[in-house]
Symmetry: D2
Subunit: 346 residues, 4 copies
């Protein structure tokens, strides 16, 4: 059994990790930490977990966690992980970081976008960007995995085959993403107050100011083998779970929808969690509760553009599920262990 | 492995059975039948199931189904099951009927409420009402289980301890239930059209005309050991999954909330899926995606009444999950097999 | 023109008053006060109002408000109004209080339920309970109107004809109410966070602990001409606007649905905002955006009970619309002025 | 009083016309036609209208309608209006067509996209595209107005200032639109069934196949004074009302967000229903129930692109409200008559 602790267990990402790990046959839960709820039973904080787990939220205690854990998931606001991850790594505990601290390879980029100084630039180099579809072998060897952001996961998987094949113009990329509210977490905010959010749809950051932009650009640039910038706009959908991203690319030459669809099918043919749709279009409910990413492509001959649509559950393939997929790889398990969860539909 | 077929696999109950059975370690799926979608891949009808199962929907073929199945789940409109169930039973295949045909023990009641003649009154006698919390031993021996309705499950579990204990007036029972839309199935109806349903709440049957009334009354009468009638009002909530029932009873004598709560805890102490809440009240999201039933009670000294609130996922504890719980019992498995699913929250 | 000020203009009730008053042909807005947003344009706080009104939120200034206003609406947390209302009344400004401070005639009841000492017991006596359907003539003469609560409005209108006629047992009354989230206001709370509320339904106070209970009981007792207590349970619906209440009464003698329906039609025949439905049941969306209250009744011969269902928009007939209806009466206008707003459907 | 008839009164557009016209001080309703509901009271079809209007739905009777009407609104499926509009025009009754039959100036385009032969190509020439912000003077003189589509309204208003000014590359335009469900009408469809739509977000037509594409392209081409094509992707949001469109353009030269915002403010400075936002971004709830169109722009220096976001209520500025705005112009009324409706918020 892999002994797992979750640092920051009571946010939506923490609790989703816990929900999936409860059903994971090779895992035992060691410690759950929470600043806010320390001393309380986890099922007191989330009554839905009553009877499923009886752990108590604890204050962070490095000694105990290191002693009892093979791996920790750090689900913390940005800026915190970078100060504590080395404590675990130095003493042989692997780390999967759910936040942004180790995703950007360029320290300057990190410091520009997050407006704080990075405390562990050395670990940035070591950290593996945990998107198994692109970095499977590296993840297997990793001590420290930077688990991708939810938007970036939906975008990178949608763009990878096109960029790898070099058939789109790299200065033409538009990414229009739409997320459910759980991506914004459990902290109270007026714009997430039910009366304000229900029956409303909005963009919440335009013209390139969202912090997932550099993360997406980093990975798309690596795929394209050239430095590129994108236009990225995130929107808020009146639903709890799910991200759908719509990507637009200018084609270098004409190609049919069918050819591109087959190219995608081929690209992802060994991937357990990526599904290429032919006769239908992705919708978030079709992936909700699962680790799947659904993708469809369509070519518009009139404009010479290809549109790619992808859908994920932001808390699973966009966070907790992907992290557990990474954990499975790091510990030599079948990648699907604990993750063969069909979507909850309807 | 138990070989399972689903008759009527493409409704919401059928597909939920399939979703849970896919994760059941002791089950293999034999046949899926569907009049409407015969010849189509099940994941073509429900794209969410792509990669999880590759079966094709078939027309009903008794020979093949009997040959390949140990048990069939019949998820059909009322009036159909009663004509075909004996075909399976006679040839040694167990049946779990998801519909209403075998729930009412009194044939006349059935014929009055459903306005058709019953074709298998003999099987009514044999059928076991599949609420494990009340009929566990009978279910274990059953060839034919009548799986309870969704509203009745939420109501009977909420009322049982009080009626068994004889501490409430049996002519005082009011049941006010609220259901998500999936309980009404996948057939198109104006009142389930998104634009009509969203941001709206309504009662849809008042003054005792809903067909779950006699089913609830039958079971509450058995618990109370006297014939009783109830006032039952179902409402439609603008959400997909979940039933919450609020029950009102006049007490025979004063008793405290704490005493009653402890009585409920004791009554259900061996039940894996019933959770009695002390410090919080049930909400449907806390059971969504799970086989749990959450219950809380409160005594109002001013009125001499007790209020009981219960919540279930109507498609799981109110249908598919309970049916699989019954199947586990009928085949000598641990009752929780395949059902240890924590709720999907948030 | 009636000169109107709103004290506490930036809550949901305040802003709904403002929205309706903007379209009222006999009203001019004098002052809008807000502690939180003083100094800001009201359309900065609520961008939806841009171009419709250009007022700035002000700190409370009695002098100016008294000088410029014929009537003030006080939309404040309980306990505040009772300390300031006399300032207006003493100087000839009428007051419509949106909160609970003047609704309960019995000071002791108020102090028991709200756990604070009442500062203006004398004004309680003078205050008129502003339900025009019951107190129209008194409202016309009033200086101070206590605008009814949202739940009480839906319940009292639904119960009045039965209690006036004396045909139901007064110890049998059960009230099961369901409200959208806007009734809980704009203050942030975890249980109103979109991710927690969407796709969930729950009861939030059982066994008689909600503060609207004594208000309902007061008015039902007056109608029945005897002191009565009720069982009242409020629930939260995943939608923003609307209250639906389901009431249960034991009949003193048998009577048909048709007879009772006609009795209701007769009782409310001169009421512009109460609609008795015959062939359909109330739903909240059918009254959303309007000052209407829809009611239907049904008798269940089996149980000897009558069920009454009523629906209102909690922010309009349950708050701002009713207040403006009261204002119209107080100033001798046609009661419907500014309120002939058909529901926004779908 | 302008005498108005609605042909096809019982769809969502028809009923929204009726709702607004009920409050219009210069209008009397003459006839409401409906194939499906002829002979029924309109408030029987939409109980929300009870007490507000007592008209009966009639079968189409040209004689009577012509005799009693000054203008008719035709709210019909495409292909029907073009066969009947001349009947009204020839006899002096003005027509505002809510459908697509007279929007495309190029008959071939119409026949290609709608796959039927056009019956009144002569009237296409006469018809005025009813977007007052661009064609106010023409609308004033028109006998026949082709009321714009909902998506096109949101897109053209968002794009007009940029294209008029010639500061964006015309081969770079991407339009990513999101609509609530009411835009798809009241006809039942599986993908609009509540259980399928709630908590789900999806694209429903990619790569340029939606029929609003040529309408948008026609108007943007006229603005740019050159033939252009766009990439347009419509999405379905789990809410009833509202469209939000996000547009992306490559700039011809660098310009700041502030400069562009001021350009938009100037462009629309005389428009009563277009609001340019500076400190916030559009959201659909802020325009729901109103005839407003909210717009914000943002320049991303990194990519040399400008993003424009616009929001409307699809049934009002995207249909019925705009049609009434056109009617006001055609009859010499103040354009805002009957339309000064603040948004319903929250």
């Amino acid at each position: 059994m892999i002994r797992v602790s979750i640092i920051g267990a009571t946010g939506y990402v923490g609790i989703e990790l816990l929900r999936i790990l409860i059903g994971h046959p090779e895992v035992s839960i060691a410690h759950l930490t929470s600043k806010t709820y320390k001393g309380q039973k986890i099922w007191h904080v989330y009554p839905c977990l009553k009877n499923f787990i009886d752990k108590t939220c604890e204050e962070m205690n490095f000694e105990k966690i290191v002693e009892d854990s093979d791996v920790v998931f750090t689900a913390l606001p940005h800026g915190i992980s970078m100060g504590i991850v080395h404590e675990f790594l130095d003493r042989g505990v692997k780390v999967i970081d759910m936040g942004a601290d180790f995703r950007l390879k360029d320290v300057t980029e990190y410091e520009t976008w997050y407006k704080i100084k990075h405390k562990s630039p050395d670990l940035i180099k070591e950290a593996v960007y945990g998107l198994p579809e692109l970095y499977r072998e590296e993840v297997k060897q990793a001590r420290l995995v930077a688990n991708p952001g939810c938007y970036p996961t939906s975008v990178i998987l949608a763009a990878a085959p096109l960029l790898k094949a070099g058939i789109v113009k790299t200065d033409s990329i538009i990414v229009d993403s739409k997320s459910g509210t759980s991506g914004a977490g459990r902290s109270l905010r007026l714009d997430l107050h039910f009366s304000e959010t229900s029956e409303s749809f909005r963009a919440y950051s335009i013209a390139g100011s969202h912090r997932h932009t550099p993360e997406i650009e980093q990975e798309l640039s690596l795929l394209a083998e050239e430095k590129l910038v994108i236009s990225f706009t995130p929107h808020l959908v009146p639903m709890t779970r799910g991200i759908l991203s719509t990507l637009y690319f200018k084609l270098n030459y004409q190609v049919s929808t069918e050819e591109l669809t087959n190219m995608y099918i081929d690209f992802y043919k060994r991937e357990p969690f990526v599904r290429i749709l032919k006769d239908s279009l992705p919708q978030t409910k079709s992936v909700r509760g699962s680790n799947c990413c659904d993708i469809a492509v369509g070519v518009d001959k009139r404009t010479g553009r290809v549109t790619v649509v992808s859908a994920i559950d932001n808390l699973i393939k966009g966070a907790a599920g992907q992290a557990i997929q990474n954990m499975n790889l790091m510990f030599g398990l079948d990648e699907k262990t604990g993750l063969a969860l069909p979507p909850l539909y309807p």
